[in-house]
Amino acid sequence: MRPLPGSRLHDPHPYPGRLITVEGIDGSGKSTQLLLLERWLASRGYRVHFTEWNSSRLVRRSMKRGKKKDLLTPTTFSILHAVDFADRLTYEIIPPLKAGMIVLADRYVYTAFGRDVARGVDARWVRAVYSFAPRPDLALYFRVPIDISLERLLAGRTKLKYHEAGMDVGLATDPAESFRLFQSRVLDIYDQLTVQFGLRVVDATGDIPSQQKTVRRMVHEVLRGYQGPRGSERAAER
């Protein structure tokens, strides 16, 4: 019908800062790696701003109510996350990028492209919805098999979360089985996204320090030629 609006995801963003994002299914260890990256960057004097998927105050109440009463459909689930993203983009991502800072985002639009499509929304539609998102300078994808992520999640707590396990999709009544089926769909989509959007794959089965070493090497490349605001003289180091 109508042509897709030009997506900002295909061109480098115009801001002096750097945008680094991490992706991966729950239990892939991406948040741990991002935290370690943040520590490292801060210790080198870089000015860093961290932002996390689904953390905006704006839709917190609707999201809570929707999840608690099982009112969310794949479409409202998707749009509420887009509201969260648009709100954080406006207040938390663009301003630090304009100020030349390094923005670290725990999950980015690829999460929506994976999860929401696994829930059944149209892939073209969700890409169009997020077409206002700037392209990251580095988008890391922590790839991990389902069994390992499940093991990690269940080691930390006793129960899988309802939406995390994709229970709303109705693939299975057992949470672990549902998680397996739902997250397998997400994994398949992430593999396609890796090709389409040039996500950089990190093998998330390895031990934490060696993954972090890989991450720092990739980040180092992205910071070549970067002149951010100085927290200390060391920030200028190439």
Partner: protein, 261 residues
């Protein structure tokens, strides 16, 4: 854009691929028009008229979804919204009502009267400067209505009507766009632009326009004529019997219908 006659419902864009919609024997009638033009007064009068003819009626209105209405009102009070978050919140509200209210009621054979539809977002976003292609993609999950009745008015007639009614409100005056030196100027400019957009949409989507400068009862008479004409052509075609509807959905549509009275 089909505006009369009966054909199966269609999606505006990519639709809701995960939803088994089945047959929707009801009728989706939209009342569009700018702020303060008298939509809700007219809808209140339409309802008993339709019910007397034996039609079950369900009302739905912009920002009235249980999931989003509090969030939208709070956000508007806090003035923290951008055109992006504004549009997305409206789309979420609309999707919630579409899936939980409009589609179940249509499935149960109700006449759904929608106070505003996606066209309101199209018009407002044009005025606020959002990418029109993006706005339209966003609402690609919408059902195309069977009939869009457009209450057409000019700013000169609208201004005294709003002042005699509930008065000029911050958002309806476009104060967020800083168009004028005071609320009166801003209202005129903002509503003037909105009306231009509505008029363009009316041509593009084949709205049935009703002159809203007339007195209330004359507008009502015109609306009834148009609806009767639509229902006449609609009932002239044979339609399959409505399929059994899940009881919960049906009860919910009924409860909403009663509350909306």
């Amino acid at each position: 854009m089909p505006r009369s006659g009966r054909k199966s419902k269609s999606w505006y864009g990519h639709g809701l691929p995960y939803l088994k919609v089945g047959s929707l024997p009801g009728h989706l009638i939209v009342i569009e028009g700018t702020d303060g033009v008298g939509r809700s007064t007219q809808i209140e009068l339409l309802r008993p008229w339709l019910e007397l003819q034996g039609h079950a009626v369900s009302n739905t209105g912009w920002t009235r979804s249980p999931l989003l209405s509090d969030t939208i009102n709070e956000a508007k009070a806090g003035h923290e919204l951008t055109v992006l978050t504004f549009s997305l919140l409206y789309a979420a509200d609309f999707a919630d009502r579409l899936e939980h209210q409009i589609i179940p009621a249509l499935r149960a054979g109700f006449i759904v009267i929608a106070d505003r539809y996606m066209y309101t977002a199209f018009a407002r976003n044009m005025v606020m400067g959002a990418d029109p292609a993006w706005t339209r993609e966003l609402f690609g999950f919408a059902l195309v209505p069977d009939l869009v009745l457009y209450l057409e008015i000019d700013v000169e007639t609208l201004v005294p009507r709003v002042l005699e009614g509930k008065g000029m409100d911050y958002w309806e005056s476009g104060m967020h766009l800083a168009l004028g030196s005071d609320i009166f100027d801003s209202f005129g400019r903002y509503q003037g632009r909105l009306i231009e957009e509505y008029n363009a949409l009316a041509r593009e989507f084949g709205f049935v326009a009703v002159d809203a400068r007339s007195p209330v009862d004359e507008i009502q008479a015109s609306l009834r004529t148009e609806i009767a004409r639509y229902l006449g052509t609609a009932s002239a075609r044979p339609r399959p019997a409505p399929p059994p509807t899940p009881v919960r959905m049906h009860a919910r549509a009924n409860a909403r219908a009663r509350r909306g009275r």
